[in-house]
Symmetry: C3
Subunit: 332 residues, 3 copies
Amino acid sequence: MSLILGQIVGALGGTLELAGSDTEIFRIAPLDSAGAGDLSFLSNPRYQQQLAASKAACVIVAPAMREAAMQRGACIVTPDPYVYFARATQLWKRLHERALQSGVHASAVVDPEAVIDPTAYIGPLCVVERGARIGAGTVLKSRVTVGENCIVGARCLLHAGVVLGSDGFGFAPERGTWVKIEQLGAVRIGDDVEIGANTCVDRGALDDTVIENGVKLDNLVQIGHNVHVGQHVAMAGCVGVAGSARIGAHCTVGGGAIVLGHLQLAENVHISAATVVTRSLNKPGVYTGMFPVDENNKWEKNAATLKQLHSLRERIKALEQQQPQGSKIGTQ
Amino acid sequence: MSLILGQIVGALGGTLELAGSDTEIFRIAPLDSAGAGDLSFLSNPRYQQQLAASKAACVIVAPAMREAAMQRGACIVTPDPYVYFARATQLWKRLHERALQSGVHASAVVDPEAVIDPTAYIGPLCVVERGARIGAGTVLKSRVTVGENCIVGARCLLHAGVVLGSDGFGFAPERGTWVKIEQLGAVRIGDDVEIGANTCVDRGALDDTVIENGVKLDNLVQIGHNVHVGQHVAMAGCVGVAGSARIGAHCTVGGGAIVLGHLQLAENVHISAATVVTRSLNKPGVYTGMFPVDENNKWEKNAATLKQLHSLRERIKALEQQQPQGSKIGTQ
Amino acid sequence: MSLILGQIVGALGGTLELAGSDTEIFRIAPLDSAGAGDLSFLSNPRYQQQLAASKAACVIVAPAMREAAMQRGACIVTPDPYVYFARATQLWKRLHERALQSGVHASAVVDPEAVIDPTAYIGPLCVVERGARIGAGTVLKSRVTVGENCIVGARCLLHAGVVLGSDGFGFAPERGTWVKIEQLGAVRIGDDVEIGANTCVDRGALDDTVIENGVKLDNLVQIGHNVHVGQHVAMAGCVGVAGSARIGAHCTVGGGAIVLGHLQLAENVHISAATVVTRSLNKPGVYTGMFPVDENNKWEKNAATLKQLHSLRERIKALEQQQPQGSKIGTQ
């Protein structure tokens, strides 16, 4: 498998420096492990030292790095090297991998009342239930379930094990037992959505659960019933979003974070990994809540003391009140 | 799809006020989004304001809300509106959705030595291994695996991707490697259990892993080997319960919580979301442990200080000891 | 199903005391629930009291426990009773369960360009994509997906729902949308690896994601792209490891823990359950970070105060500075 630099620059633009357009590239590789036949990229100035040392045949760089890159050797200069790199991986895949199929794999189970766009691909051992609709160019890799009446837009990519349209978790308590609330809504997925392996999106109780255009969900994510995920939100692995939460457009949620039910996140809210969101967040910004990791014996002492924190505060207050008049402390 | 109110009251009881029994209902909907042809409900007095403004054709309410509801329009009066609503969703589903099938889908792989009740339904692409038993009226939606010798009771609902009877995580350390402990137990699921998408229940090491009657597990839950989950327990998504834990009847576990191994939870223990249960909890009650979410820069300061918490306590003690005799502080 | 003690000692060694080698064993069971026909074991001296009370036909013990065990009855004496017990479960399974099959189940979907060792077993409804390779004696239980070009070594055990080779979570941001970085690497799994139900391992972006020999992953674990997991690492359920993290050999990771991306864990680092690893850990040891569980009302007070922790520290400092000269406190 190889490409020539001329193919890349021809397709993606940018200025090629210090290399002929017929230079052959055998791989795309990180700066530090790239070899003599590889194309690499520098997107973060932090790694500038790796640039000088890289053995790559050619490095994608920003205009500000042009001089430094040319001292090393060949480069492609482009305003956003990371996006250029992303597009180069797409070009690489398109030219080298087997053309994406369309149609329904013989082993998939598709209800006759489901509607599959002819350009979509339903992979092996998928299940598409009655009334479901799959949009143009969308790919269900393998072992994906799309439940009754659930709708998936165009150009989506659903990885193995995804479940759309399982019942939301709704029960009414009655004398110590649970009465099931049938989940009568469905799931609606917009266009250009990617959903990771074994991720689950529950159907709504009455209205639908909605994932807007351009959303990216990683693996093993749980989206509860009636959640609304705004455009271009990205959630890393193992995130859980409880029922009826509304996540604004362009939010990001770090791995293992939990968003409780019925909360609202404004647009451009960024939740750190493993953070539990217990209240609505109405202002854009970065939010965090996690216990800092420590050596276990130190953690034990601090965690034990944490249980007295409120009373420690009271003791500080009492100490402050005993200070002589002339020495009051301002920071209360 | 529609129903008349007479069908609902006929099947579920309650008193219909200010509407004819032939009033047609086209949907069940939340108070705030219900339209002129919709049935809605008010279960929490907190939402009373929404009641007055609702456009619903009819609202299910408790006797205490009868007057307020009738000032707005038609209502059904019943002691527990939330349970009534749950039953109405069941009625709706029963009347409008395709009758539940029984039998084994042609694409499922069922071992000849498995025993499937004739009224059970084994959906597409499920696997039921040798010696497994599936009870009356139980439904395996699609892509469910029930492992060797595992038993599922009556009227259970297993969503897509569920795995029952994967090996428990048991290894004996030997000179830096792991010797597998074969998991010789199985999984026993009671009656009326619902298990969410991609949830896993491991088989026991020697004895069985047991899920009692009426338990409800949400999606992506992990139940370790030899766990015992008591009757009518409910666990939200992404919960993990480690090996040999015993969860008492009527407990609830919030999303993303972790229960460590070999612990015991009394009946009616309620664990908040994302809480790590590190010790047995012998008294009913609500238990919580999670770092409060905050703006990231504030969190950073507090988390850094948290690592000094134990030494801060020592400093407070020292300050207290330096107070003049006559001003001792009581709250130690 | 039964075995005689002679078969066990013949196969696994150890010294049989106070029982004939033709004593029949009907089950392997824990000390406290073992009956008259059962074999049990004592691996932890903490449970010595259970030894005296056990009704087991025979107990596996260490030399130090020989006397105590013989006062109760029959025993097998061996240097490491837990490993002996593990091997006994393997013997039991081998003799009593249906012989492991090899070959490809008729319902599995295996690409003609995948390479399956003739002694491997590909269970029902598995998917093995083009270019994938499955080693000798490896078992894919059911509904496992092994993606394009992914390699699984010898004697591995992959439980139901495992996904190897889903795309890593890589996107370049561009004007509020996400540009996909095609994931051109694959997954390489060593020998003797066990992977739990519904666990996911993403393919690398450019290089491969690597799981070394002897690694054991529990259920619902997420391994991001380009992660490197060293030999004989064990991870409990619901763990998430973000992209490009390097986990040293012989590490253990407790259930629900999260390891952030690009971090390095030295060999023999042990992470407690539900801990978030936010920095590289270069020294062997036990590391923990979790909020201690408490009664909810106590937690509420302490969590609220936690948000003032940094300012409390400032107040302590101020108090210390106001102490009279002669009484300076040492522990700052």
